[in-house]
């Protein structure tokens, strides 16, 4: 296997961790390991470049596979009794379900401890990897690897520069900026909720971000676990907060009708149009791969942290994020070794150095990030005081990947927040 960065040569990497890992895992040569994950296309190539280091270090015969319907695939495979060794999934909710059905192998408290010590906002991350097993006991099942930051607003610096706009520091300023743009004859926001079979999910990120900016993290946690009802005024308020942007015809490119139907992948392209269709775009850290070709991050496009209300200083600087979690679906020494491998900084740095990878792992060298934007995003993660995982991914699949989406579409389509929220709550009740 070809290794992307020759070991020991580049000082941006923790080569020592690689060598140490190699030294301690030489006994597993030739053992098979199947890894199943969500990454396809370029992402797959990136992950494979990481996996190659694992293979080179251990001699394990690791094979990665993915599927368009990975969600469906993993359900079938686990239930039918032919799971891969390692399942990497972006949905804690799904993992919790699998754990509940007894398809996951607990990693053990040592790993949890390790996470707590080494990850930024480690406690949060442990929470997202801890589920009730078949026996009803909670245990740590899923190792977080690769994160996304969601509380980002993307913009084109040159456009700001030309129009003389400043990056807003508070939510109040953000509203002011939006109004300013409207006044200048422009449209501030591009919002697109379309995503084929998953249409509606980008709105959930908005609502979650607004939740964290209007309510305490604890309320957020209760919301996610239905500790408070979905139609609690707190939640309804957050939805309406989102509505202030999405349901303001002057604020959104193409009008409100376009919000639900525009594909989220096409939506950011409006930033780069001439004249610009919009100046701002709220989306997670992965979105640059949908920017038009040749846009240089940091120069042609940049992001700022989705600001908080100056009026609510006690909420701090919450970061909404997501990530993929690695679980063992079929135990073997090789599988354990793979989890062990994820503890080495090198497993993170190799991907970091390329693109699209963030990690809350504090021991990695920030220099390894492929560009400044990534590094800035990474810093958000490692320095976050409050980190919250994407709520919709934590909710039961039927809600977080169903009723919530549908509700948001209905909301943008004209229903009021209260109705939508109680519909979602009704669906949630139906699950119990």
């Amino acid at each position: 296997q070809e290794l992307k960065f020759p070991p020991g040569q580049d000082s941006r990497f923790n080569w020592k961790s690689y060598d140490d890992f190699k030294a301690s895992h030489s006994s597993l040569k030739g053992q098979p390991l199947t890894v199943f994950g969500p990454w396809r296309g370029e992402d797959e190539a990136l992950f494979t470049s990481v996996l190659n280091y694992f293979i080179a270090a251990t001699g394990i015969d690791a094979r990665y596979s993915s599927s368009e319907n990975y969600e469906q695939q993993i359900v079938i495979d686990t239930q039918a009794g032919s799971p891969p060794n390692i399942a990497i999934l972006p949905q804690p909710g799904l993992l919790a379900d699998l754990a509940g059905k007894g398809f996951l192998v607990p990693l053990g408290d040592d790993y949890a401890k390790w996470i707590k010590e080494n990850y930024g906002a480690g406690d949060s991350w442990i929470g997202y990897g801890t589920y009730k097993g078949k026996d009803g006991k909670e245990a740590f099942y899923a190792f977080p690897y690769k994160a996304d930051v969601k509380s980002l607003v993307w913009y084109v610096p040159e456009n700001f520069e030309e129009a003389g706009y400043e990056v807003p520091k508070t939510m109040e300023e953000l509203f002011k900026l939006s109004d300013q743009i409207v006044e200048d004859g422009g449209v501030p926001w591009c919002i697109g909720l379309g995503s084929g079979g998953a249409t509606g999910w980008p709105a959930t990120d908005w609502v979650e971000d607004m939740m964290l900016r209007t309510q305490s993290p604890e309320t957020y946690d209760k919301w996610v676990s239905n500790g408070i009802r979905f139609d609690d005024p707190a939640v309804v308020g957050a939805i309406d907060e989102f509505g202030k942007f999405a349901k303001n015809a002057k604020y959104v490119s193409g009008g409100i009708a376009a919000v639900a139907s525009t594909d989220f992948r096409d939506s950011p392209k409006g930033l780069f149009d001439i004249p610009p269709k919009c100046y701002l775009h709220h989306q997670a850290s992965f979105i640059p791969s949908f920017f038009p070709e040749g846009k240089e991050l940091g120069k042609d496009a940049d992001f700022f942290y989705m600001p908080t209300y100056a009026s609510k200083p006690d909420l701090g600087k919450p970061v909404l994020g997501a990530g993929t979690l690695v679980a063992i679906t079929k135990d073997s020494p090789a599988a354990k070794a793979f989890i062990e491998f994820l503890k080495t900084p090198i497993a993170h740095e190799v991907w970091m150095a390329q693109s699209g990878f963030l990690t809350p792992y504090k021991s990695v060298k920030p220099e390894a990030y492929g560009n400044d934007t990534l590094r800035k995003e990474g810093e958000l993660l490692t320095t976050a005081t409050t980190f919250r995982f994407d709520g919709s991914d934590l909710m039961p699949g039927k809600i977080g990947a169903g009723a919530f989406w549908t509700g948001m579409i209905d909301y943008v389509g004209g229903k009021d927040a209260k109705t939508v929220a109680s519909d979602i709550q009704k669906a949630w009740d139906g699950l119990k």
Partner: protein, 337 residues
């Protein structure tokens, strides 16, 4: 690469050959078990009758085994699952059925499915028949057929992209990249968000399935049309019937059986269709159909095997009338034989 191809060819030939071998061998075995002596007519005819009793089962055997293992067994498993909870662990009686009865989305799906069943099979069969008949009469008919057939060959993912570029909506005064809106715009109308137009969006989705399945109807009906004895058409020509009359009074009645078959097939396909809804709307904006709902409950977020089983059973129950009708049909046919 070459070795891959060679081994693939080998595997393919071996697989097909093994299957053919079964029939050949089983017939041979039958002949050995029940010999037909040339001189003894009594044993010969007794054995022949025995062969005649056994042979249908030899012919049907592989088909029945496949059907039972791959379809009947899962159906039974589904039936059992429908009485269990989401992970199939504990028995819950009729709770899942009760849930379905009161679930608004379920009712919505039934309603939409009825719409689909009313429109799609009829439209596909109609277009398929018209195209099959018309293309038979022109020299470039084969080309035309291929064009109509093409959507069948496109994968569902491909089809969904195709239709994205038809239904796409761009807000405000942006240039439309969706064909439909572009047309509406050129004629001075206001572009619409077709996909989220309540009630009517169902029909926009149906158009896609019609577009795809008409090729199916066309091919099957075209084959049937070609089985019509020429003389009957000639006789009708002599009788002074025009093309229209020949079509309705001579051709259609003679392929009535096939039309029914196509109709049945597409009806059943409609009951099963979920890809279109999944990729275009995922059932949002009130476009949910049963199959999609089932898929949803089966896989989303780990799935709920009990409820998805109930929905699957409802889908299956919906074909019962068609089944009964087909049994009748089969009886009628054999009566004529």
């Amino acid at each position: 690469m070459v070795s891959q191809i060679v081994s693939a060819v080998g595997v393919v030939i071996a697989g097909v050959f093994a299957c053919a071998l079964y029939y050949w061998l089983s017939d041979k075995v039958l002949q050995i078990i029940f010999p037909v002596p040339k001189d003894n007519v009594r044993t010969a005819s007794v054995n022949l009758n025995r062969r005649a009793v056994v042979r249908p089962w030899l012919f049907l055997g592989p088909a029945l085994i496949l059907l039972v293992v791959y379809l009947v067994y899962p159906v039974v498993a589904t039936l059992l699952l429908s009485f269990y909870d989401r992970s199939g662990g504990s028995f819950v009686g009729f709770a899942n059925y009760r849930w379905a009865f009161f679930d608004a989305q379920f009712r919505q799906s039934i309603f939409n499915n009825i719409l689909w069943l009313a429109v799609v099979p009829a439209a596909c069969t109609f277009f398929g028949l018209v195209i099959a008949v018309l293309t038979d009469r022109i020299w470039w008919g084969n080309l035309a057929k291929s064009l109509v057939f093409m959507p069948m060959a496109i994968s569902f993912v491909g089809a969904s992209v195709i239709w994205k570029f038809v239904y796409e909506y761009r807000g405000g005064n942006e240039t439309q990249i969706g064909l439909l809106n572009a047309i509406v715009q050129t004629f001075g109308g206001t572009p619409q968000v077709w996909i989220s137009m309540p009630f009517w969006n169902n029909f926009f989705l149906m158009v896609i399935l019609i577009w795809i399945q008409t090729g199916f109807a066309m091919v099957i009906l075209s084959a049937a049309l070609r089985g019509i004895p020429e003389e009957t058409i000639e006789a009708a020509v002599i009788d002074g019937a025009n093309g229209w009359q020949i079509f309705w009074k001579i051709m259609v009645p003679q392929i009535w059986g096939t039309i029914a078959v196509v109709w049945t097939t597409i009806t059943i396909l409609v009951l099963k269709v979920f890809d279109i809804v999944l990729t275009m709307t995922n059932g949002q904006w009130n476009t949910m159909v049963l199959a999609n709902l089932m898929f949803d409950w089966m896989f989303r977020g780990g799935g709920d095997s009990g409820r998805s089983a109930v929905i699957a059973l409802v889908i299956m129950a919906a074909v019962t009338p068609i089944m009964i009708w087909n049994i009748r049909q089969a009886h009628r046919e054999t009566g004529g034989h």
